[in-house]
Symmetry: C2
Subunit: 196 residues, 2 copies
């Protein structure tokens, strides 16, 4: 029957901090754990990284590594202030295919889902959110349009209070939060949706 191969689970955990997209490393490697017999993939992932500190987790892909090991990778997203042990390294400096796949997945989902919730703190200004999107997307984003798109889609909602301006002045910024902390598709059909 089936031959035996060893199977590992790998976590690609991303966050944006100070305008930089970062990936979590443990001992210079992506966190991973061998899959035990009769163990679920999620259970193995939980041994590799502190899943409780992640705001969103989804499976990325399964690849065959050298040496006959199969690895299933998960994408994890964390807020800037999430407490996770390990070293955060600029994603652009880690040239591992799985990290590129994670970035690509994130980039895509930022445009048609509410997944930004997983990278943002509980409340934030539009400027702060813009900085997160810019880092994750890798290109400039207009704060004006970001606000309009996400509010129109019902992804963001205003919350009481304002952020006081810095030393250089400026109007105090309104605070927002994501309405949902679960992944939702907000723009399901780019085209060929059902007739209205």
């Amino acid at each position: 029957m089936a031959d035996s191969t060893s199977h590992a689970v790998v976590g690609v955990v991303l966050r944006v901090r100070e305008g930089r997209l970062e990936v979590l490393l443990l001992d210079g490697e992506l966190p991973s754990a061998p899959l035990a017999r009769d163990e679920s993939l999620e259970a193995a992932l939980a041994r590799a990284v502190d899943v409780g500190a992640l705001a969103h987790v989804e499976q990325l892909e399964t690849v065959a590594l050298a040496g006959g090991t199969i690895a299933t990778a998960y994408l994890g997203l964390a807020a800037p202030d999430a407490g996770l042990r390990g070293e955060w390294r600029a994603a652009s400096r880690v040239s591992v295919p799985l990290v590129a796949a994670a970035q690509a997945r994130l980039r895509g989902k930022l445009s048609y889902t509410n997944v930004g919730f997983a990278l943002a703190p509980a409340t934030f200004t539009i400027s702060e959110l813009r900085e997160i999107y810019v880092a994750a997307l890798g290109h400039d984003v207009s704060a004006t349009n970001l606000q309009r798109v996400l509010v129109r889609r019902g992804v963001l909602e205003r919350v009481d209070g304002r952020r006081a301006p810095g030393r250089t002045g400026g109007r105090p910024a309104a605070l927002f939060r994501f309405r949902s902390a679960r992944l939702e598709v907000t723009d399901e059909f780019a085209a060929l949706g059902p007739p209205r």
Copy 2:
């Protein structure tokens, strides 16, 4: 180190025939093959299904099955006339989570990629293509709009000749083909694209 678990590869092969979305079964089950030691996932998939007859293949997801087996599923798409051994069953009648996942993946990609090429014959009329989209999407699609969207995006191109009308008359239909037979993203950014 890593404990051993058995690993299998499963193929979820879909096609549309006579207005119906169908899934390929072998002996009443989704085709699968155990992964041999040091074998690539694709090699195992090739032992499960005739990959050469598929117009498109992509990895779906990896799940833990009962009994400690890990299964990596692939989505395969075939033209109506592709020669594949096995039994084709209406996808709606096969209530297996992997089939639902495959359908969902296909539905999404039909709207923002050219993946329709993998379900269509080499050349076709817009009506025929519409029938394929209707079956795969599960909702009505306007032939007019389908034509316009796919031509504007440069996905379809006209080919010489016309299809003669049936016994009931009607204008002869123009023939089209997909410009590319490889997956291409045609509508990358629903929103938050790079500034122009």
